[in-house]
């Protein structure tokens, strides 16, 4: 299932970019992390903190394109909720860059080392995949039908409360 998100960074590659802002996301990556998200190499990264967030997000959620507007919204919300967020993001990206940590091993590594960065991946993945910032009573919903867990299955399912289709359309074998 490919995203059909209009503002996806992946579709913006050839749009003209202000030369003064031509700092690229590639500059924040090593060969290892670049191999995880090859699409990101040519993405503009005018702002190091936000660029690092985009790169780290892409690594964690394993996507080859991320919606730019959503990235801005989620970054702002996460940064507002967690004071150290920008620095933590930079630090975690640096850690993955240096130690070539497989995303699938990442949580285990951070937990095993009692890293202060351990809560960070879940915060970021919850934001992208559930559309939720924070937890418990302080939790806030920032996305629903554009959260990645809806986008990833959008070819088969509609998020609950959205009509699946005309009466009886669900009787057919799902077309995947």
């Amino acid at each position: 299932m490919a995203t059909n998100l209009p503002g996806s960074i992946g579709t913006r590659c050839d749009s003209p970019v202000d030369p003064s802002r031509r700092r690229l996301l590639a500059g924040l990556l090593t060969a290892y992390t670049a191999s995880l998200i090859p699409w990101a190499l040519a993405q503009p990264a005018p702002h190091a903190d936000r660029g690092a967030f985009t790169a780290l997000s892409a690594i964690l959620v394993g996507r080859q394109a991320l919606d730019a507007a959503q990235a801005t919204r989620l970054y702002d919300a996460l940064a507002a909720a967690h004071p150290n967020f920008p620095a933590d993001v930079q630090a975690l990206l640096a850690l993955i860059n240096e130690r070539h940590i497989d995303p699938l091993q990442l949580q285990g590594v951070l937990d095993g080392e009692h890293s202060p960065l351990a809560p960070l991946p879940r915060q970021i993945v919850s934001a992208w995949c559930l559309g939720v910032i924070g937890s418990g009573e302080g939790a806030r919903c920032v996305a629903y039908e554009t959260a990645l867990n809806a986008v990833i299955v959008a070819d088969v399912l509609k998020p609950p409360t959205y009509a699946y289709g005309s009466y009886g359309s669900w009787a057919a074998k799902p077309n995947t």
Binding site: G62, L130, A150, I152, T161, A163, Y167, T176
Partner: protein, 547 residues
Amino acid sequence: MPAQLSADIVVIGSGIVGALAARRLAQQGASVLILEAGPRLESARIVAAFRNSPLKGNWMAPYPPSPWAPHPIYVPKDNGYLKQAGPYPYPAEYIRAVGGTTWHWAAQAWRLVPNDVRIKSLYGVGVDWPLTYEELDPWYQEAEEILGVAGADNTGSPRQHPFPMEPVAEPWSMRRFRERLAPAYPVVANTVARNSRGYDGRPACVGNNSCQPICPVNAQYLGINAVEAAEAAGAKLVPNAVVYRIEHDAKGRIAALHYYAPDKSEHRVTGKTFILAANGIESPKLLLLSASSKYPNGLANSSGMVGRHLMDHPSTSLTFYADEELWLGRGPQSPSSINTLRDGAFRSQHAPYRLDFTNISQVYGVTNDLIKEGVYGAEFEKQLRWRAARQVNVKNVLEVLPNPDNRIALSAEKDAMGIPKPEAHYAIDDYTRRAAEVSKADFARIAELMGGTGLRYSAEGQFANNQHITGTMSMGNDPASSVVDAFGRTHDHENLFVCSTGVMPTAATMNSTLTAVALALRTAEHILPAKQARAATAHAGREADLA
């Protein structure tokens, strides 16, 4: 403030049960006033509140309690409204708002099976009902025609007349269960108040898969539809009117009701006949609260049984991965079940049960699981799709026997209006636990037939609750052991009737709302008989011999 503070009939509670009794009585020309503790809600706002909620698994999120009429909330944390006296927790859920709890029900609208009302005679357990299934049949039919019930004849509940609608189209996932479990287990369409075609001005289901928390298109019948119909028939409704006392006269007849408005101003409403329909927990609470020097144990409580015999349907379950893509979440949430274990000689040994399949989208749960497990990177998307396509769940719906120790009492703690909170005393006995044990073999066999892997049984000794509050104002012929008679009239007060799932003397294995509605229509008929022609039809139906 309402212009009218007196009526022929005054109904406490605007849930589906009270509102449909009110509607029928208003149609007969009675003046009807409904006092409802909660506010009016708007469907579109509920939908928006759900979409904006950070806890999509919490169906109560779009229904925050009002300070003057609280209801229990457990997530993200217990609001402490329904006190738990133990030994087993009873986390009942309901909504105090105009239209009541069916704003977020699953619309399963089942009849009992005939033997459910005779388990004492047949199996030596529980109690017999003071009426027969045959007597209930025409009232079921009337209820099914009002609600718009879709169903098939193969569920074990006989009927004289056809269902108003064909069963709702079977989701692919349920078709595969049906095909693969046959002939070991017949999987049949659930009987539901959900439209399989346009019915009574409401559209056919379009598969939003959000029946609980809210059907955005009103393809399933809701309490608010009953309220609107009652109002259209002439009933008046006062929202935000928290009844806190039922007043009797020297002869023991009910004279008036007292309610608080949200500003705690006190109001008194008089009437000729009163119907208590504030659900299976708030209704007995109100009877206990209304104790007086003449009735020191509360109204309608000369038997001491008000609030006792609390029952519900506990469930254990099995979650697993089928060996093919089923993609739960296409179509309605509760489409199919296995009904062959609802009755049998085994009932003398252990509880009967229904086996119910969910069709709730697994995406939300799986996403949470993956985040919890720390599955990141390309594997996240792969796993999400794999699990959401294959994860399924089957649960039992177990009967609980009436036991006077299980009960709703008044807590010493009070709510913001100064009204005592309800307190639940609850335990799940061996009769029910044995059935949970027996059903594990069914779970295992079902998983085997579906090529199941990754089997996850619900934790040993842990039961989920199904919110079918029953028994707390049980009906019976003997005033010494029951609260109301077979027509819902309290034994102690001639002009006080109860319409509620709480009048059911046993819980059987079926979601209880349709039975409560059928009984409420019968109560309404008893209070004020319908016009000649209708009465004749109902009577003919009642006399008819059921196959």
